[in-house]
């Protein structure tokens, strides 16, 4: 189970009072929000629960949240929300320091819980990636791969998703003040899809959908928007990705199903036609997790290293003084050099 908190960890907020046993926080729990390699979307979600934001600010003491406040603190934290994957040596050291400061550490989002899309690169490819990305790789320090927080320190709870769900975030905060277990279902997206009465896009349209092997939590928005799930919340419990990938590969070859006189589903560029297409489906934001990885290892789908991604003439690297404002000579712009200055 994702939410496996250490006993008494939430005591700071869930201590019973004399009669009701209801949470009687003697002081507001100190909350920190930090990020590693990520898009900031998950911590932005905290600011996106507009209806609860000010109440949250009253019930919790937000002592560290660089994106939202200038006040900085190094802890200790009752709850530390951690976004992003560990991608540099400095980050590996930093997360260990933060863990020691935090009573509860909650990893939020696909980057923190599964490494994120950036975790698709393998150690073998790392140097090639770095060389391809930066003219002078030496200036850039990064680990061979991007890894989830739980590979470096103990994680008390995980909020899945790319991005996380605002409802689940509030659910976790509420459970901290009430002492109850947050309801973070680990079942397939299909359950929510069916509850909403959305016709299955696999069956009715022949579209590829990761819903059956993906954890619910998003509200089944992709099928609701007429497309297949692409796995934002990562593998559901006991995901049978092998069985499903096999079925998708078969369907790629037999889009109409096994009924000889069945009609073809309406043409759609998103429908897989070969194994590689199916493979790429599993190489998403949670593609580094074992159930997904086991498929891409077989079918491929992880990013192809651009072997010729070296620069004919790398952009010059600037040193020394700061840039100064100045007028741009007209001719430099008007130059119609077809390939631009990069040559």
């Amino acid at each position: 189970m994702d939410v496996a908190m250490r006993a008494g960890a939430a005591a700071a907020t869930a201590g019973p009072n004399h009669a009701t046993g209801r949470s009687a926080a003697t002081r507001r729990p100190r909350v920190g929000v930090v990020k590693f390699a990520s898009c900031d979307g998950c911590q932005l979600t905290i600011l996106d629960v507009e209806d609860h934001l000010l109440e949250i600010a009253e019930r919790f003491e937000i002592v560290e949240f660089a994106e939202a406040t200038s006040r900085r603190s190094s802890g200790p934290f009752d709850v530390l929300l951690v976004e992003g994957s560990i991608s540099t040596p400095e980050q590996a050291v930093e997360i260990a320091r933060l863990r020691a400061e935090a009573k509860l550490l909650v990893a939020i989002g696909a980057c923190a819980t599964a490494g994120g899309i950036q975790a698709l690169r393998t150690a073998a490819e790392h140097e090639a990636f770095r060389a391809a990305v930066y003219p002078v790789p030496a200036y850039v320090d990064s680990l061979a791969t991007a890894r989830p927080i739980s590979e470096f320190v103990h994680v008390d709870a995980e909020l899945r998703g790319c991005p996380i769900s605002p409802e689940q975030l509030v659910e976790v905060l509420v459970s901290l003040t009430t002492g109850r277990r947050p309801q973070l279902p680990d079942q397939a997206v299909c359950l929510e899809c069916k509850r909403r009465g959305i016709p299955c896009v696999v069956v009715a349209r022949g579209l590829p959908c990761l819903g059956p092997v993906t954890r619910t939590g998003c509200g089944a928005i992709c099928p609701a928007f007429g497309r297949g799930c692409y796995g934002c919340f990562g593998p559901r419990e006991q995901a049978n990705t092998a069985g499903y990938a096999a079925a998708l590969v078969w369907q790629a070859a037999n889009p109409a199903g096994d009924d000889p006189n069945a009609p073809m589903p309406p043409p759609d560029s998103r429908r897989p036609v070969d194994e590689a297409d199916v493979g790429r489906l599993f190489a998403g934001f949670n593609g580094a997790t074992a159930p997904m990885r086991s498929i891409t290892d077989k079918l491929g789908g992880r990013p192809v290293m651009p072997l010729r991604a070296t620069l004919a003439s790398p952009p010059e690297t600037l040193l020394g003084g700061p840039p100064r404002w100045g007028a741009m000579p007209a001719d430099t712009i008007k130059s119609e050099d077809p390939d631009g200055p990069r040559g």
């Binding site: 932005l44 741009m328 390939d339």
Partner: protein, 434 residues
Amino acid sequence: MGHGGDLRFQVENLTRVEGEGSLHLRVRDGVVEEAHLAIFEAPRYFEALVVGRTPDEVIDIVARICGICPVAYQMSAVHAFEDLFHVAVHPQVRALRRLLYCAEWIESHALHIYLLHAPDFLGYPSAIELARDQRELVNGGLRLKKAGNHLLSVLGGRPIHPVSVRVGGFSRMPDRAELVALRPSLEEALALSQATVDVVTGLEAPAFEREPRLVALKHRSEYPLNDGRIVSNDGVNLRASDWGKAFHEVQVPWSNALQARAGDGLPYLLGPAARVVLAGEQLHPLAKEALVRTGALESIRRNPYRSIVARAIELVHVCAEALDIIDAYVKPEAPAVAVTPRPGIAAWATEAPRGLLFHRYVVGDDGKVAAATIVPPTSQNQAAIEADLATFAPAVLDLPMGEATHRLEQLIRSYDPCISCATHFLDLSVEDAG
């Protein structure tokens, strides 16, 4: 704080910016010798991660570059591909994409004005403290932000990383009733944004003026969002796909983000100020009226601290245009048209909330991406920020350290830098990968 000798000036962690950066200045005898905006956001190598993917997959992936402006990344990408594939989308699709962009601008601008930037002017560490004293003000900002998020959810399923954009159109388009139901919240948002203009115009901005080179999209009839030509206040005028003809990227040793410079190696400025100045005529009448009311056009151009006013005026524009688009909306027969991929170079620029965002993809014969270049606004603004720091820093060095730090951070924040976008970009030449 004296002038003599060698002064090192460090802001370790920039706060209330999206992502992780730091500022380093070296000043000798009152002259700034070094102004480094260091971005240590860890590399994520997106330009390599999209290689081998289909255009529709790329749209989902590049959104993850930035959780604050995912729509911008989806828009630059989808337009780039549709430009290469000669796709003519349904007029309502085009309109709805503008609406989607409006929604993101509302959310992003409201976030920056109320939660990130306003506390600077009013002397609070964060909107939370600000809310204790001026709850109504912050509540208004949150309602504005929510209006944008709500619209994003209706159009794309969720505010962050929406799921509905695809090459050729949308995977689903809403029923008219779904959009009409949003009118009340958007009408309130319009009113709130008009009030916002007056509030931020009244904020006292540090005296600091310079003559920046401004760059933005410009369209004959629309305020720049997804469409227009790349223009500058000193003569640039290029197709949205031709960014590379006037600008290029460079790497600096102190940052994980590539910087962009003009052909002459000099900095230029993107964002609300650039747009309001260069494309002011295309503002919605209500936004124009607000701009006139402030009489701040000139100070917006010259004083970076006044960008908050430009942002507020754009808020008025996107709220007003959103309402217009909804009123004119008719659900088309099909949400998307069929697309035939063809190999070649797909490039396009659109206007993210914080400035011009350029995408360039090499599409192979298999219809998949072979190479990519993504130039986000913050890496383009980086040089401008450093240039401003170099110019402005001496003026605050006499202040106490804390105050000076605050002023410089406030200056950096006025660009609404989105550092997580600015990092990890891959540079490829056509010939190499084509």
